[in-house]
């Protein structure tokens, strides 16, 4: 599996994503600079967490129209797997690759804590290494993770099994306790929790590495 991690100005989990990918695949990903439209052929694109463009305007709003995202959108539409973590999820929503928006946390405060999630759908390229219904613990760290979409959209996401992860302890007020969703084709996943932060024994928990292992299994 060949992977690329996009680096926007203000990304700060880019190196963390690289480390988790390297742990899971034994291969270092390509680091794609936001200003470059050209990207090598890859099987997976990671939009990492952080504060792209300082969260100015709206989270993810400035990154969505950047040159590299035109390429990411084109590749996603052709079926390349894309995972957006935290700010990456916000960018996916802003760029239209995923429906809905991420509002400010209900508490109006930034929240960093491990949260328990339920793996709702383990028949996806991102979750195949988990058991269905498995409870996993993956930390969140965000100020705007409160997922919101129109009722029709929520209904569709739920009906089509596109809610990949659901909070057991909802930390931000997300509708239907949504922690991670996929696009209709199932090749784009956005999630607020950070799987790269629970990827090796040092982290005290390795529940997150399975996201990357799943992709390896699915892609080969």
């Amino acid at each position: 599996m060949k992977a690329a991690v996009v680096v926007f100005p203000g990304s700060n989990c880019d190196r963390d994503a690289m480390r988790a990918l390297t742990l899971a695949t034994g291969q270092k990903p390509h680091m794609a600079w936001h200003g470059d439209a050209a990207m090598p052929d890859v099987d997976l694109i990671v939009l990492p967490g952080g504060f792209s463009y300082g969260d100015y305007h709206r989270t993810g709003a400035m990154a969505a129209p950047s040159p590299v995202m035109r390429e990411v959108i084109a590749r996603a539409n052709k079926g390349t797997r894309v995972i957006g973590i935290c700010n990456g999820f916000q960018i996916l929503c802003e760029s239209g690759l995923l429906p809905g928006v991420l509002l400010r946390n209900e508490s109006l405060k930034f929240v960093c804590r491990p949260v328990r999630l339920k793996v709702e759908n383990n028949q996806t390229d991102f979750t195949v290494s988990y058991d269905k219904g498995q409870t996993v613990t993956i930390p969140v760290a965000h100020g705007e993770g409160n997922y919101f979409a129109e009722p029709d959209t929520i209904k569709k996401l739920e009906g089509e099994g596109r809610v990949a992860f659901r909070y057991i302890d909802n930390p931000n007020g997300s509708m239907n306790d949504i922690a991670g969703i996929m696009n209709d084709k199932g090749n784009v996943l956005g999630m607020m929790p950070h799987p790269e932060r629970v990827a090796e024994p040092l982290h005290g928990c390795t529940d997150g590495i399975k996201v990357f292992q799943s992709l390896l299994k699915a892609i080969g």
Partner: protein
């Protein structure tokens, strides 16, 4: 001396002493321009010159085989083996954080980050020490809310994990809270950068945010006391932009990875003034700046304003000839403003031009050499009596466990989760342990080594006996670092005191230095960087003195890292160190009897060293399963914290039942758990380390004699205080 009204006004505005102005005239040989006055006043301010404290700071131990660079540069540098170095410092942003809590705290974090990456180190962790007024004070809630949000807002965005810290509440901080921020960075020991300029004719390059009118006179503001109109000083507080800081970190580290850089200095207190003077002075050269080339937010800024602006996220470089393009490419890549604003000269003068006119022309050396130094009169703090614990028994109708329930929900002992959950503690994915334990531990990337770090100070001890308090602050960091299994290597200090012109306050400072010095020597634990914040008074009321100590230690094998949590049922619980029941200045005495009295617990540095070494060896041998330093609230609080962290109870059957035993704050103690108590006891006896068996882990209750308390209940008390308070 007669002075023009303009000069009189400048002197008053800048908190300059009149005899300092006389020296200024002598150095300059003429009346200064407004810009020159501003430059000199800032350089000679307490904040920049350390004029009241320098004679005492010089007495502190700053060397050792582990020290690569001690105080004098932007941050201290220590050797952590394998050609790697840890770079760290702590700095205060007290006055700004009181005036404007969010921005004051945020820019405090930004400033200390710059001090560290200026040295060529990638910041890998932030910590902080916060002290607020009493919770009943009407301002406290909004200050806590703003300061915590500001620290999080900045640190989270730049992507440096905030991994630890401490927070206290006390009435003496009602009008003057303390915000001390510490950053630890990682560098290649052979590639440490400094500010000393070199190479006549070399370009001086400005990079980062544009210069605006924010923070002008910040350094002089921080060098005076507050009065009732503190809020009117809000315009002196800087406004931070962590996004630009993040770009600046990446751009500077990328540039420092090339061969282009001769010298680098961030623009902190007193802005362009101090960075330019610093570079020229350390390099023994002159510097000529064309202020028209400085990127400005507002065109109409005067030379004075440009030189004294404390706009954030700005850096000054001296580049090697021929490398200008290389630097330009990097700054353009990171979309940062940059400009060649001047060059190095052989004149030994700092010369600043604005609109073609020379606004500043001062010889640097005399300016720096004539910087005032005061050996201020000081009075030793009167000795407090040692209180007898028997005079403060557990009140009738109360028991040790009922007192525990009271104490664990007090402002100084309740859970700080409400605070640290607002900080991203995982970014970087090297955090092995963060807030809630004794010390934070961050992996040295690419190795199995861990850096342990913590911040400690007990201001109430320092007020009662500054010498003992200074000693205790150093010793407590030593203990906290030992408790996670790391060898304590060196410290940074952040000296927060009142008005040094009052002999009583100066006496506190002198005493604290004396105690710190003694502890540093006894523990082989030198001071490599530091910062002083004086004049922490409002309407003449000084704060409790707070020499906050940031400690850094190293563990070779991070897989051996210890935590405070009880791990398994049926393990023996022991206390290492002697429990005498020292009640004076304890939180028990304050919270149960309403008394802040007596001498603080004595610190036996020989015992600290021996017990610390003993505990580290136990951890290295994997002979214990949990370890916690005994501090505020004494033994009972330590046990409760371990039980709560592990979500596992304990059954205690120690013989004593008196308050001194359970709540006394004797030093040099650790609570540990082990599967093999006999082996541990044999080791303790062989090492001559006092110990006492306390009981066994297990269950979901803390059990003491016939009494029990459910952990769930205890957790609720412990966790709910701060969120409930903040909800108002």
């Amino acid at each position: 001396m007669t002075m023009s009204p303009e000069i009189e006004k400048l002197i008053a505005e800048h908190n300059m002493a009149r005899d300092e102005y006389a020296v200024l005239l002598r150095v300059l040989g003429r009346e200064p321009t407004e810009a020159e006055f501003g430059v000199i006043a800032a350089m000679w301010s307490e904040h920049c010159s350390y004029k009241s404290t320098r004679v005492w700071l010089k007495t502190l131990p700053t060397t050792g085989p582990q020290v690569i660079m001690g105080p004098g540069e932007n941050a201290g540098v220590i050797d952590i083996g394998d050609g790697q170095a840890a770079v760290f410092k702590m700095e205060s942003h007290n006055h700004p954080s009181y005036i404007e809590p969010y921005q004051g705290a945020a820019t405090g974090v930004g400033g200390i980050l710059r001090d560290v990456f200026t040295m060529g180190a990638r910041p890998i962790a932030n910590l902080n020490a916060l002290r607020f007024g009493e919770v009943s004070h009407p301002k406290t809630r909004s200050l806590v809310s703003g300061v915590v949000a500001g620290i999080g807002g900045y640190g989270n965005c730049v992507g440096v994990p905030t991994v630890g810290g401490e927070t206290n509440f006390h009435a003496s901080y009602n009008g003057n809270n303390l915000v001390n921020a510490m950053t630890v960075g990682l560098a290649d020991a052979k590639r440490i950068f400094t500010s000393a300029a070199a190479g006549i004719g070399n370009a001086v390059v400005y990079v980062g945010s544009k210069t605006g009118r924010d923070g002008i006179k910040g350094a002089t503001m921080a060098s005076g006391e507050f009065n009732a109109n503190a809020e009117s000083q809000r315009p002196t507080v800087q406004v931070g932009d962590p996004f630009t800081e993040k770009l600046l970190i990446e751009a500077c580290l990328e540039l420092m990875g090339t061969e282009a850089v001769v010298a680098i200095q961030d623009m902190g207190a007193a802005g362009l003034t101090s960075s330019a003077v610093e570079m020229a002075s350390k390099g023994g050269l002159g510097i000529e700046l064309d202020l028209d080339k400085v990127p400005l937010r507002e065109d109409a800024m005067s030379a004075y304003e440009i030189m004294l602006s404390e706009s954030q996220e700005r850096m000054l470089f001296v580049l090697k000839p021929g490398h200008e393009k290389e630097a330009e490419d990097i700054f353009k890549k990171w979309e940062l403003d940059y400009s060649v604003i001047g060059k190095l000269t052989d004149t030994g003068r700092i010369v600043c031009l604005r609109h073609g006119k020379t606004e500043v022309d001062i010889k640097v050396d005399p300016l720096v050499e004539s910087s005032p130094v005061y050996n201020r009169p000081y009075e030793a703090t009167p000795v407090q009596p040692v209180l007898n614990a028997a005079d403060y028994p557990i009140p009738a109708g109360e028991t040790p466990l009922s007192v525990l329930k009271t104490l664990i929900a007090t402002p100084d002992l309740c859970s700080r989760r409400w605070i640290w959950e607002q900080y991203d503690c995982h970014v970087g994915t090297n955090t092995a342990q963060s807030s809630g334990g004794d010390a934070a531990v961050v992996r040295v990337e690419g190795t199995n080594k861990g850096l342990a770090m913590c911040v400690d100070c007990s201001p109430r001890y320092c007020a009662a006996d500054p010498v003992m308090g200074g000693k205790q602050a150093v010793a407590e960091t030593y203990r906290n670092i030992s408790a996670v299994g790391a060898k304590p290597l060196a410290i940074t200090d952040n000296m927060n005191f009142g008005n040094p012109e009052k002999p009583r306050i100066m006496g506190q400072f002198v005493g604290a230095c004396e105690g710190m010095k003694e502890a540093c020597i006894a523990l082989d634990y030198p001071i490599v960087s530091g910062n002083c914040s004086l004049y922490n008074e409002t309407n003449g009321q000084p704060i409790l003195p707070a020499p906050a100590i940031g400690g850094v230690g190293l563990m070779q094998d991070i897989s051996k890292m210890m935590t405070v949590a009880f791990k398994a049922e049926g393990e023996s619980v022991l206390v290492i160190g002697e429990t005498k029941g020292h009640i004076g200045q304890s939180l028990y005495l304050r919270e149960i009897f309403g008394k802040e009295e007596g001498a603080p617990p004595p610190v036996n540095l020989t015992a600290e060293r021996r017990h610390g070494k003993f505990v580290r060896q136990l951890i290295d041998d994997r002979a214990i399963t949990a370890c916690h330093d005994v501090a505020d609230g004494g033994l009972m609080i330590a046990l409760a914290e371990m039980a709560l962290a592990g979500d596992m109870g304990c059954k205690i059957d120690a013989p004593a039942t008196d308050a001194g035993f359970w709540f006394g704050e004797d030093q040099a103690r650790y609570v540990v758990t082990t599967r093999d108590p006999d082996a541990l006891i044999a080791k303790a006896e062989a090492a001559g380390v006092p110990f006492m068996l306390l009981g066994l882990t297990g269950g979901d209750k803390v059990v003491l004699a016939a009494e029990t308390v459910d952990l769930a209940w205890l957790r609720d008390l412990h966790e709910s205080f701060l969120p409930d308070y903040m909800e108002g």
